[in-house]
Amino acid sequence: MADSGAAAPKPSSSVKLVLLGEAAVGKSSLVMRFVNNDFQENKEPTIGAAFLTQKCNLPTRTIKFEIWDTAGQERFASLAPMYYRNAQAALVVYDITKPSSLTKAQHWVAELHRQASPGIVIALVGNKADLAAEAAAGDELGDDATEDTDAAPGAEGEEDADADNADQRRVATKTAKAYAEEEGLLFFETSAKTGKNVAEVFTAIANAIPEASLKGPRGAAGGQSSLGRQEDARVNLGSVRPEGAKEGCAC
């Protein structure tokens, strides 16, 4: 698992990344999937924000993500500036089964545009894609099925899910994508549960970080990578499932 060998020759740099989004959209799950390739109920009590690190190997360089996973309750939102301050990247997450979460995500995007570092790379992420019918072909289907929610993402699902196993998607891909394009955001639909697109998001972010804004390896005496692994080990309670290991990011 250790990537210390691979990391050595390539230039490596740290990127501070913050996760924002309504409670329960799956921020922690996404991080957990990315860092430990695991999906499980979060037992770790987070106060303010949880801090994790993970490396991402690109062909030309290694990016070490320092991830701040902000905590759930609405009132903690006023602490958010503390975490997105000087972040180089942000993952703004919504839940594709919950239109209000996209609205919230849009607020976060506006907030970041206004308050965060100017060059911040923002990815809009629609999580829980596994809950959409035909997750693979879901994009087209989703568009048709949820056309009517396009105009008003704030309106809570108008048509009721006919059955529990049916399509629970309430935010059309098209809607979110259009918004992301308009705002110049990266856009992905992911599933922390299946691992779909999770590594891709981080890889895309890593690629999108302008070379110039990389500070080079922060921290002095190369102890970083071991410290990083320590973090990981602490959270990872030993149930690493190999399924769905992603290329692009080595872990």
Partner: protein, 1101 residues
């Protein structure tokens, strides 16, 4: 005079409210002496300092100070003299307190001397050595015949459960001897007050018994020989009893600690009767034994006294809200499984259940805080050592006093203390601070969890509890001292860390090795035995001994404004973004402006209400011996609610607040007849002039702003905007409302909007009354002039070249336009279909009643009025009204000759219902250029938001004269004086010399004017109709304008002869308001409406 200065002092507190425990730099911002007193002795908010006197406490011979190291009981005889402590003896309603920290809370004492205890405490906590005795725990007080002529009291306490058996088990009781040092008079006063308190205290003995019985100390001290008592149930000392206490009891030397405590408690009293001597504080410093931990936490934090006050509050709260749901409960539920999951107790339903109940109960008693993540962790920790009820009270002490604002909905306390912590780091460790700044590491992301969860989540539990032991005794400064010590100890390594990750790792690994030796390589075995945690404690309390509660308070005061401003701007951004698509029709500046105005009004109103409430409370205080509710918003701590950053503030405005809000935005919403302060305000009249000082929230009902008008139009607007029918407007409602009014430049939609305001049942029709009301509203809105801003030159020329060719100022033009409006409306109105009418019979009857006031006094000619020719008494109105409705079908039709006459008559005949539709309304508006202009720009620009300057009072004043100008030919008009004075009144300041006359004039004219004007227009309309009915309609409305002279006559009449009638008119109207408004309007407003009318009446006499 006393009242006034008191008020001023309070008012200042509101502007610069001090945080609890805060002692800001300048004198006038300090917390009250009562608050300081309560904080020193950890007393409930019901207590206030009544008496105090310098005194010497002598503990009877068998009490001994023992250093924690000496475990022997030898040498008792040598200490025959006992221990002496000099300090202050304080008496509150229910407590007798003694402290060696000699602070004074006398009324005459300066705040500096009152707050001196927040300084250096030498490990003894703010209360120092001494006691905090509930009066109900005193069994006897004897006056000793002292050698010197000093007053000496011997106090015998209930040492042990105060029950009948106690006589046996504690034959001697606990004796404290206190010598009072003061003049004979002072001593006697003190003793008298004490006597009264003791008498009162008897009724609290019940509570005392219940609470003390739950104390472990009682159980611990049971006489070994007392077999009966031995069978007593072990008190609930937390989950640790079932699931073991964290840590290795042997390593923690728990048994030894218990023995030392047993000894201390036996000699110094237990629970309520405990006397604090230096040993007490030392025993706390070395870590509390498991089973006593809960009780000592309760005593040192003061939550014990809350529990004593309401022993069953916890169970009662649970019972009261059982089965109810709330957002807090949902949030609690999510976190139950993530609260100290490593402790076995919280892997069981037993522990989870306790945690759920305590958090839920607290969320009900303090709904403004509800539940905040991190409380779960703190409460979970408490529950290991104490019962649910104990944890519940301790949690409330934490939230209300020890961690103010930490868990509030904006978490301002958390953010503030992070800022304070950062500044302390900067001060005490400048090199490390520079390094942090250089490496762009934000300290608070690391330290925030330390504070928010009291280190419980950061350190291994056993160490976190040691920190808590000291924290409850010494207060919030401990959190800072520990935090600084952590950084100091790890300074070297931290200087190597240049990113968040490394920084966090260094500290994490430090925390995980707290039990290791601090000097593993030392040759000195003693030094080797020192653990890292012990080192931490030493560094924290020795090296950072200079960090006192004073330091913290000063720093809090220093950074508070910046932190609050940050939160507020964040909240503002967020909430403006949350306003939804409608809000996009307004500019960001306008939205910001509305946001500020909206919350400013709510905030100011709340502050004013609270000042008044406190004043009332203060007056009532004398009669009240006991606070009714511990959790009731306490004075002092809560005075600052309302500021957005401080947590839940009101988010909705009622109608009165809406009026005040509008008055700040639109000129027409400012009243012409400000009420006199003496009448509206319970405050002494001179306080009114305090308004001139804008820095103080005024105690007049409308604050320092202009007093708002109360017009039917405003009520309609309110109702229209109140889309969710809550009888209150949220910011969302207000913004949506403004978006409709101001968000469009389209005259057609403006016209429709206005029409809809008056289409009560939404059937697309506005009936006769509605038409009259519209016209009245138009006059109301234009009475301070209509904005010419749109295209002033053009519109003026238009108007002048229009068919109302006569020269006149814009206001006269407006008057005639409204007149023409009414005429045309009736002209083009459709007769209502009888069947349609039936549905609305009752409805319109009520409206007719409302309308009554407008035309009633028009005796013989008024075709509009529904009233019978004779002016009926108010009570008869209803009958008359209904009967006229009944007679409708019988109305003679044969008298109408021509079709036109018929139409005209129909229009004016109250028995012939009619209505206009939107197209008609639109046509009528567009037919008149003045009105057209009004709907195009005038109306929407009468609301001034960010882009335009707010209405200045001077312009208000000058514009206000317009109505007088309109009637400038009227004899005896006081136009000039009127304008100036009213302007002053609008600004909330009436120069006493000129004020009365101006006010009188205003009240009269306000009461009369609109009614008179409308009535006059009615007359004209009617005359014209008559004429038309006679002549047919050959020529379009031409010579219908009354001559100025006639105009003046009417006005003159209104101001002189009709005064009394008009006054009478107002009364029924006011009563009607009560009738019709009962569905939607608040009670307070109704009263104020009728009060205002009555005032009119009074002034006219």
């Amino acid at each position: 005079m006393f009242n006034l200065s008191n008020l001023v002092q309070k008012a200042q507190q509101f502007i610069e409210p001090a945080l609890p425990l805060a002692v800001p730099a300048s004198n006038d911002q300090r917390p009250s002496k009562a608050a300081l007193f309560r904080h020193q002795f950890r007393l409930p908010d019901s207590q206030s300092p009544l008496q105090e006197i310098t005194a010497e406490l002598t503990l009877s011979p068998h009490h001994s100070t023992r250093s924690s190291s000496s475990e022997s009981t030898t040498g008792e005889k040598e200490r025959g003299q006992g221990n002496h402590y000099v300090g202050k003896l304080h008496l509150s309603e229910q407590y007798l307190c003694f402290s060696t920290q000699g602070s004074s809370f006398l009324h005459s004492a300066s705040l500096t001397s009152s707050s001196s205890f927040t300084g250096q405490t030498h490990g003894a906590g703010p209360a120092g050595n001494g006691f905090t005795l509930p009066l109900c725990a005193i069994r006897r007080v004897e006056r000793l015949h002292s050698q010197s002529y000093m007053f000496a009291l011997a106090i015998t306490t209930w040492n042990g459960t105060p029950d009948s058996k106690a006589k046996k088990t504690a034959p001697s009781g606990q004796k404290l001897t206190i010598q009072l040092a003061g003049s004979r008079q002072q001593c006697e006063r003190f003793c008298d007050a004490l006597k009264r308190g003791l008498r009162e205290g008897i009724k609290d003995v019940e509570n005392l018994r219940a609470v003390v019985a739950e104390c472990y100390s009682e159980y611990l001290l049971i006489d070994d020989k007392d077999e009966a008592a031995k069978e007593r149930e072990h008190p609930d000392t937390g989950l640790g009893m079932i699931f073991r206490y964290p840590g290795n009891a042997r390593k923690l030397r728990d048994a030894t600690k218990i023995r030392l405590w047993k000894e201390y408690l036996r000699e110094n009293g237990r629970s309520v009767t405990l006397v604090r001597q230096p040993t007490f504080h030392k025993l706390i410093r070395v870590g509390l034994p498991n089973r006593l931990r809960g009780e000592i936490w309760e005593l040192t934090s003061g939550s014990f006294f809350l529990r004593l006050e309401k022993p069953s509050l916890y169970t009662e709260t649970l019972a009261k809200f059982s089965g109810r749901n709330s957002l807090a409960i949902d949030e609690i539920e999510k976190d139950l499984n993530r609260s100290l999951p490593e402790y076995p107790g919280f892997q069981s339903e037993e522990g989870i259940g306790r945690l759920r109940r305590v958090l839920t109960a607290y969320s009900w008693t303090n709904e403004s805080v509800g539940y905040c993540q991190a409380m779960n962790i703190v409460v979970a920790a408490l529950l290991i050592y104490m019962s649910e009820s104990q944890a519940f009270f301790l949690l409330s002490i934490l939230c209300d006093r020890l961690l103010p604002g930490y868990y509030a909905t904006t978490m301002y306390g958390t953010l503030l203390d992070q800022r304070v912590f950062e500044s302390l780091v900067e001060k005490t460790m400048p090199i490390l601070w520079d390094h942090l700044v250089k490496s762009d590491v934000q300290l608070s992301v690391v330290s925030l969890p330390w504070f928010l969860s009291l280190y419980i989540n950061s350190m291994p539990l056993i160490f976190a509890f040691r920190v808590l032991d000291v924290f409850f005794l010494e207060g919030p400064k401990v959190l800072f001292q520990i935090g600084l010590a952590i950084l100091r100890i790890n300074g070297e390594e931290l200087l190597d860390a240049t990113d968040d990750g490394t920084f966090i790792s260094v500290l994490k690994s430090y925390f995980s090795r707290l039990d290791e030796s601090a000097h593993p390589r030392s040759d000195n075995p003693k030094l080797r035995a020192v653990t890292r945690f012990q080192e931490l404690m030493v560094v924290a309390f020795k090296e950072f001994a200079g960090i006192t509660q004073n330091t913290i308070s000063e720093q809090r005061a220093k950074h508070k404004d910046a932190v609050l401003a940050n939160i507020e701007s964040f909240t503002k951004r967020t909430s403006i973004r949350n306003l939804g698509p409608e809000s996009k029709r307004l500019s960001v500046d306008d939205l910001g402006f509305l946001y500020d105005k909206f919350y400013a009004v709510l905030y100011e109103r709340q502050q004013r209400a609270e000042i008044l409430e406190q004043e009332a409370e203060r007056k009532a205080k004398a009669e009240r011996t006991k606070a009714s509710a511990i959790f009731a918003p306490s004075s002092g701590d809560n005075v600052q609610r309302g500021r957005v950053a401080l947590g839940p503030s009101p988010t909705e405005m009622d109608y009165d607040a809406f009026r005040e809000f509008l008055a700040g935005i639109a000129k027409w919403a400012i009243t012409d007849s400000p009420s006199s302060p003496e009448q509206e305000n319970s405050q002494p009249s001179h306080s009114y002039f305090g308004n001139s000082n804008r820095n103080r929230p005024s105690t007049s009902p409308w604050g320092s702003g202009p007093e708002p008008a109360d017009h039917e139009f405003m009520r309609r607007l309110f109702r229209q905007w109140d889309v969710d029918m809550t009888d209150a407007l949220s910011l969302q409602n207000v913004v949506t409302g403004f978006a409709q009014v101001k968000g469009t430049k389209d005259i057609m939609s403006n016209i429709s909007y206005f029409f809809e305001l008056y289409d009560d049942d939404g059937d697309g029709r506005v009936d006769r009354e509605g038409i009259l009301r519209i016209s009245e509203a138009l006059l109301f809105l234009s009475r301070r002039g209509v904005s010419q801003s749109g295209s002033p030159a053009a519109s003026t020329t238009d108007v002048n070249s229009g068919d109302h060719a006569e020269k006149g100022n814009p206001d006269e033009q407006f008057l005639s336009s409204v007149s023409a409006f009414i005429r045309r409306c009736f002209e083009y109105a459709d007769p209502d279909h009888p069947s349609h009418r039936g549905d609305h019979a009752l409805d319109s009857a009520t409206k007719d009643m409302d309308n009554f006031a407008i035309g009633e006094d028009d005796e013989d000619e008024d075709l509009i009025s529904l009233s019978a020719p004779t002016s009926p008494a108010p009570t008869q109105n209803k009958d008359l009204q209904t009967s006229s409705e009944d007679h409708t079908p019988l109305s003679p039709h044969d008298s109408i000759k021509s079709a036109k006459a018929k139409a005209a008559n129909l229009a004016l005949d109250p028995n012939k219902p009619l209505y206009i539709t939107l197209p008609t309304f639109r046509m009528v508006i567009l037919a008149d250029e003045v009105l057209e202009h009004f709907f195009e720009v005038g109306f929407s620009s009468s609301f001034r938001l960010a882009s335009t300057s707010p209405p200045s009072h001077s312009s208000t004043a000058s514009n206000l004269t317009t109505f007088s100008n309109a009637g400038k030919h009227a004899a005896g008009s006081t136009a000039g004086g009127l304008g100036g004075v009213v302007g002053g009144a609008g600004a909330g300041v009436v120069p006493p010399s000129k004020g009365l006359r101006g006010m009188l004039d205003n009240i009269v004219s306000d009461g009369m004017r609109v009614a008179a004007e409308v009535k006059r227009r009615m007359d004209e309309a009617q005359k014209e109709m008559d004429r038309e009915a006679r002549q047919g309609r050959d020529d379009e409305d031409e010579d219908d304008e009354p001559s100025p002279a006639k105009d003046a006559d009417l006005l003159e009449g209104a101001e002189t002869a009709d005064v009394e009638t008009a006054g009478k008119d107002r009364l029924p109207e006011a009563d009607l308001l009560v009738l019709t408004g009962s569905g939607s309007a608040g009670g307070g407003r109704k009263r104020s409406a009728s009060d205002a009318s009555r005032k009119v009446l009074e002034f006219e006499r």
